[in-house]
Subunit: 345 residues, 2 copies
Amino acid sequence: MTDLADAVRSGDRFSLARLLTMVENGTPQGRQALDELFAYTGRAHLVGVTGSPGTGKSSLVNQLARALRGLPAGEEPHKVAVLAVDPSSPFTGGALLGDRIRMRDLAGDPGIFIRSMASRGALGGLASTTAAMAQVFDAAGFDMVIIETVGVGQGEVDIARLAHTTLVVEAPGMGDDIQAIKAGILEIADILVINKADRPGVENTERALRAMLDLATPERMANRPCGHHAPGVPGGPGQDEQDDPVWSLPVLKSVAPQGTGIPELVQAILDHGRYLRRSGAWRQREMARLQCELDARLHASLEQRWRSQLPEGYYEAVLQRLGQRDVSPHQAVAALLDPQEAPAS
Amino acid sequence: MTDLADAVRSGDRFSLARLLTMVENGTPQGRQALDELFAYTGRAHLVGVTGSPGTGKSSLVNQLARALRGLPAGEEPHKVAVLAVDPSSPFTGGALLGDRIRMRDLAGDPGIFIRSMASRGALGGLASTTAAMAQVFDAAGFDMVIIETVGVGQGEVDIARLAHTTLVVEAPGMGDDIQAIKAGILEIADILVINKADRPGVENTERALRAMLDLATPERMANRPCGHHAPGVPGGPGQDEQDDPVWSLPVLKSVAPQGTGIPELVQAILDHGRYLRRSGAWRQREMARLQCELDARLHASLEQRWRSQLPEGYYEAVLQRLGQRDVSPHQAVAALLDPQEAPAS
């Protein structure tokens, strides 16, 4: 094992930070260390936290990290990593600002490590980079990795799918609209949290969420890795599910700055972890997660390989013909896939 | 030209609906018609409307469609298509419910066509399918195509990038938080709208938006198709921009159900269209848009081709070894890219 991987394993924070940066930048050295460390992963409980802007997610995550560290005697205190994924622009530095506030708040505890990823164009895709960084934390001995994402768009769904347990955060006043509570959250949520529960309208939000829960029994997306099934994979869908204990999605309330509702939330996260292990779903989600990562990396590699074989200027020539509407997008793809057979000019 | 393409060109609504379904499902017949129709595209003004849930986007889009139809004498009334892209689950039917309400509202006007896309797993990706459906409307003579998406995640950004003009919709009470107004919206917005402007807190939202506008001058993402530049492409970045008239992002207010602010919004959209044409940015965005579509289709085709060449059961075997942590994700990709060189078992 390289010195770097070794130092990360032994808990050196500086090496950890260095490796995370390498992994984020996709350097060969980072990849090598990750290859070495991969055998030591699989222990961490990955907790995804997602929700619209304005729901107070970051504050909630801070409180969660703090509470997970200080669990009652008898349980070993968790080592907690927070990975804040902010796909918005690095230009205005939203993630960095948030970070500085957090650092001040949680600094000094060696059992907590906070890291932001603000880069949009991470090599191999944001979800893939997030997965790799979670693996680094996992191998470094962090047994709780909180992955915080903004919103519930497709990109966030991809990232949430990495997690064993996904919290979807709502807030009062955003949930009364016909479109307000997106059906999609039911597919990714394991725990629903109404944060800012001291605000007016909390009853409406709770009622709307519960009504939606009563109505819908959507297929759990965590069981459909990247949209396709994986037949024949041990722990794959359908194998361990026959006599599953059932997880009934809890709806919890919190006021993060005051710590209200945080102990209950921590309990729900730990309960969900136990449920996953007992039911076999832990392994199932892990396989789904690994498959998503594999597929994302494959796509990136396939494109790289194809691009490197293309004659110089060929792509640009086809694009130009497309712009002149000489060829349709479908015809342009055919020309790009088989440069010899269908010359562009 | 096939009968179907011909019928769509001549304005037959039933054929249009049929072709849209074919395109959404990725049928060969739909692809053929699209190939034939592609030469007739390029006239429509594509307007993207995006924003968080609860901002009243759908109601705003309805009002916009209605207003665009009824422009003052002297200007030819627009034919308006609305394409509502809802990547959330088809299970609970959010999009369908919204649709029924709209249908009732705008039914009977032959110059308006409304279509929802609720399917998450569209062949070749949601953005690609959205682009293809917009092309169908374009070829069918709709000169305004409004593409409505939920949220401002990466998926929505991809879709917004299809548009010539992108409206980002905000609402009071969602914008006072440190994370509330995501930096990302400045990269995609051409027009900012504060809808529900009769609600308390509208001044705060406006102040926050204007403050952010003053602070940041982010690189316009519309000029960076899919994250990469396209050197040497006519109309590409840098060529027409020297003496650009400047578009200064307007911040408008509206109360959609009452129609307040709608005429100003319509004016801003038309102004932006004129600005794009005058500055050369129209062509530039169109090229960016076509390139995004081309790339998305390429990726899908590359994967399909690679998968068809893989020995049966090989993928599953590699995945299993990954699950046992015998190989890292990086090593698994290497094995999948070159099955002969690195056998999995």
